[in-house]
């Protein structure tokens, strides 16, 4: 009688442990708390494990949309110092039946973000062995940023070219007009800055070759 009662009391956890240890539907979990948080790392203890089991139960609830999942449905074993362990999920209707791997995987993937945040960890530091992290969606730009910068640079170049060409054209036009009015040039040289030749290096004015007495162009 006593033996029967004892067996009844101790059987479920033993069976539970067997369910967890030998199961194919379990996942190994690894936490790297010290790597993630450094000095702010919290200690892994029973309460943290409680939190983990409840988050997983939450994930199962969300995924199956059944409010029957409870913390007792999450069985944990192979607890190590690394902070790694194996867990399995039993069905709420039948404690001896395990939820298949694929379903657990889906549940974890959909809620990984919430699970990570509960522990202040990330995809790298809270590892579910066998469940690869979901890749972040690539950022899609309406216009690639490089095209915008390119547009700015090319615009500046175009403005620069146009401005320089225009200044050349206007300089040439002014030079043509000046050449047309060259006959009244005498005063032109004197009138620089209103002063009479004083700022021209102390020489006798600007040497204007047109009026030079060079007869080398006439001799033959």
């Amino acid at each position: 009688m006593l033996a029967g009662v004892l067996l009844l009391i101790f059987l479920p956890p033993l069976v539970a442990k067997d369910l967890c240890k030998d199961s194919q539907d379990g996942f190994k979990v690894r936490l790297s708390i010290k790597t993630a948080l450094g000095d702010d790392a919290y200690e892994w203890n029973e309460s943290e494990m409680f939190l983990f089991r409840s988050t997983l139960a939450y994930a199962m609830r969300k995924q199956t949309k059944q409010d029957t999942y409870n913390i007792t449905n999450i069985l944990v074993c192979n607890d190590t110092q690394r902070v790694s362990f194996v867990f399995v999920v039993t069905s709420p209707d039948d404690p001896d039946q395990l939820i298949p791997k694929e379903q657990i995987e889906q549940a974890v993937r959909q809620n990984k973000h919430r699970i990570n945040n509960a522990f202040l960890l990330s995809d790298m530091t809270l590892e579910f062995v066998g469940i690869p992290p979901t890749l972040a969606a690539p950022i899609i730009y309406d216009t690639e940023p490089w095209l915008i910068v390119f547009g700015v640079v090319i615009g500046a170049v175009a403005v620069g070219i146009v401005a320089l060409l225009m200044s050349t054209v206007s300089k040439k036009r002014r030079a043509k007009e000046k050449a047309a009015g060259l006959s009244e040039e005498d005063e032109g040289i004197v009138k620089e800055n209103g002063t009479a030749l004083s700022g021209l290096g102390g020489k006798e004015g600007v040497y204007n070759q047109t009026f030079s007495n060079d007869n080398r162009f006439t001799e033959l």
Partner: protein, 637 residues
């Protein structure tokens, strides 16, 4: 000291005498462009000399040839090869007041080939150098986003994982080889034109055109920014670098001397080549720039100052680069070690913090003695800081792979990326000013364009033609073509031109006449150091480098390294031999400029001979006007 002087009839008629020069100087009657001030001239020359090679070739040479010990051959060859050649080019340009073609034609019409060779080399180098600037601009355009596009691998098409090519190599490699170059697997596969690279090429040539549109009038203003900004950025990077972990290891690694390397002849050869190419000698640009100076400018002082600045910049840039490389190597080492530690912790379920960097070796040893088979199955990577440091790469690999990776690991990466690529852009652009000068001025001297065309149109047409030809480098195999051009167009011909320059000035123009010119220009005769180097030492060094270079190229089988995702050693680049038709291209690249030196002389001799046979030749070919009082009018050809 050799007093050899070759026959050079008619030299007096071709050059301006000292009195004429003095008159031109005083009256400012020439129509040659002039520098606004001395600073513009110095900045332009510094910008031309200081280029991408100071940043990505010198540090690699320094580190691979014995670190601090490399300074010895570098500085010795700087003094005996670089400074004399630089002084020579400055002096001859200032004296004869012409670009490279004009100068050599003046010295002796048979030496016209030297000028033409300079022009050809400047043209070929401009083509590919501006493509490198286009690549720099592409990276610059892409730096204005967070996270930087080369910091992580893109996700593949069906969102199941990362792109395989990227996963097998690294995000920076993938971004460079695939998203920038879209490189093909071999040089014969063109891979088509890459549209984004065409846009960057157009913008590179556009910026260059804006700066060169009116010759030194516009480049003189641009160099205030392009020549000074690199120093500012280098200083910023130095300060940033020194605050990063591992940077001092990098600097120590760079400068640790290994005196055994001095016995290795390739160290001296590389030092000589680096000095030579770093000074951008024999391109003709320096002669042009110097010809815009006043005739009494102290070119001796300029040459020494610019050489010192160039050497200082090389060493400074090497320090900065290696501080960042040291940081990157330390990061990689830490990652490697952390990876191994994590593997061990996971396998043996040990608590975190049991294995750290300090006790890693002992723990590994003890675990290996207890469970050797498990350990061997883990395939732990060997992490060695020195091997990460010596991964030091040169050239485009350094800038676009190693350095960009280091930048992604720094906080505020887009800022550092923008700064780095602006610096590379300025370094490249200021060198391009000199290259383009070495193309435009000879074209004007050779009267390729009609005289009525304004300067703007000439520079525009030149830039357009170069841009179109440069499309070779934006196809899929463009990177391989660029490496080809870099190895052959810019190496052998320059050595031949430099050697011919020295022989031409010292023996054809005449060292005595040259010395008198120097007395006229700067007031004193160049001392025994200059005499010895110009007459004997520098030509011998050039000859030695040329012989070594030529023999290595001719004897060794040449190959190129290709990015081939299908090769076995991927991601290591694969060595492939060139197809046979490439040898024709190589001959064209290196042969045409080199052969034009003797070729033009032969061609001219034949023409003279033919003209002599027909005495009724219409006009005698005279190439310059001499203002000798009392002479006849000489017809300008």
């Amino acid at each position: 000291i050799m007093k050899l002087k070759l026959l050079n009839p008619g030299l007096e008629d071709r050059i301006l005498s000292h009195d004429e020069l003095e008159r031109l100087e005083v009256e400012e009657a020439g129509d040659r462009p002039k520098w606004d001030n001395k600073a513009q001239y110095m900045l332009t020359c510094v910008g031309f000399c200081v280029g991408l090679g100071n940043v990505w070739r010198f540090p690699y040479l320094c580190q691979s040839h014995g670190g601090g010990a490399f300074m010895i051959p570098f500085l010795i060859l700087l003094v005996f090869e670089g400074i004399p050649l630089l002084h020579l080019e400055f002096a001859i340009g200032q004296r004869l007041r012409k670009g490279s073609v004009g100068v050599w034609r003046t010295i002796n019409p048979y030496m016209l080939g030297v000028g033409i060779a300079s022009m050809c080399v400047s043209f070929l180098v401009s083509l590919y150098y501006n493509t490198i600037i286009a690549w720099v601009m592409w990276y610059f355009f892409n730096s204005f986003q967070e996270p930087l596009p080369w910091s992580q691998c893109p996700i593949n098409a069906n969102r199941t994982g990362l792109v395989s090519e990227c996963e097998r190599s690294s995000p920076v490699d993938y971004f460079w080889y695939r998203e920038t170059l879209n490189t093909s697997v071999a040089i014969d596969e063109t891979g088509g034109l890459q549209w984004w690279m065409i846009l960057c090429l157009i913008s590179a040539w556009g910026v260059l055109y804006v700066c060169c549109i009116r010759g030194i009038e516009t480049t003189g203003k641009a160099v205030y920014v392009t020549s000074t900004l690199p120093y500012v950025v280098l200083t910023i990077f130095l300060i940033r670098g020194l605050t990063l972990k591992g940077s001092v290891d990098g600097i120590k690694f760079l400068f640790t001397p290994d005196l055994n390397e001095l016995a290795n002849p390739s160290t001296w050869l590389d030092a000589g080549a680096q000095v030579f190419y770093s000074f951008s000698l024999a391109f003709g640009g320096l002669i042009s720039f110097s010809s815009y100076n006043s005739v009494h400018n102290n070119c001796e002082q300029d040459a020494v100052i610019i050489s010192i600045i160039n050497a200082f910049t090389s060493i400074y840039a090497a320090t900065v680069i290696y501080s960042i490389i040291g940081f990157r190597a330390t990061e990689r080492f830490d990652d490697c070690l952390s990876g191994n530690i994590l593997t061990l912790l996971n396998t043996f379920d040990l608590p975190e913090g049991n294995i750290t960097q300090s006790n890693y070796q002992e723990v590994l040893h003890s675990l290996n003695s207890t469970n050797p088979d498990i350990i061997s199955n883990l395939h732990l990577k060997t992490c060695d800081l020195n091997s990460f440091l010596s991964e030091g790469v040169e050239g485009t690999g350094l800038a676009f792979i190693v350095f960009t990776e280091a930048i992604t690991k720094m906080p505020l990466s887009p800022l550092w990326s923008v700064l780095f690529f602006i610096m590379l852009f300025c370094l490249g652009l200021s060198s391009m000013f000199g290259n383009i000068e070495g193309v435009l001025v000879p074209l004007q001297d050779l009267k390729v364009f009609p005289k009525s065309w304004p300067k703007e149109v000439i520079s525009g047409v030149t830039c357009l033609v170069c841009c179109l030809v440069g499309l070779i480098f934006v196809q899929g195999s463009g990177n391989y073509w660029l490496a080809l051009f870099d190895s052959f167009a810019g190496s052998i011909p320059l050595l031949i031109v430099a050697f011919s320059e020295m022989i031409g000035v010292v023996y054809v123009y005449g060292i005595d006449r040259f010395n008198e010119d120097m007395i006229f220009m700067i007031g004193h005769k160049p001392n025994i150091f200059w005499q010895a180097t110009w007459r004997v030492i520098s030509p011998l060094i050039m000859l030695a480098i040329f012989i070594f270079y030529f023999s290595t190229i001719v004897t060794k089988e040449i190959f190129y390294i290709a990015w081939d995702p299908e090769s076995e050693n991927f991601p290591t680049l694969e060595k492939k031999p060139y197809p046979s038709w490439i040898y024709v291209i190589i001959f064209l690249l290196a042969g045409i400029p080199s052969l034009s030196v003797p070729g033009t002389a032969v061609f001219r001799a034949i023409r003279e001979y033919c003209c002599k046979k027909h005495p009724s030749a219409p006009v005698q070919e005279i190439d310059s006007v001499s203002y000798k009082p009392g002479n006849q009018i000489l017809i300008l050809n």
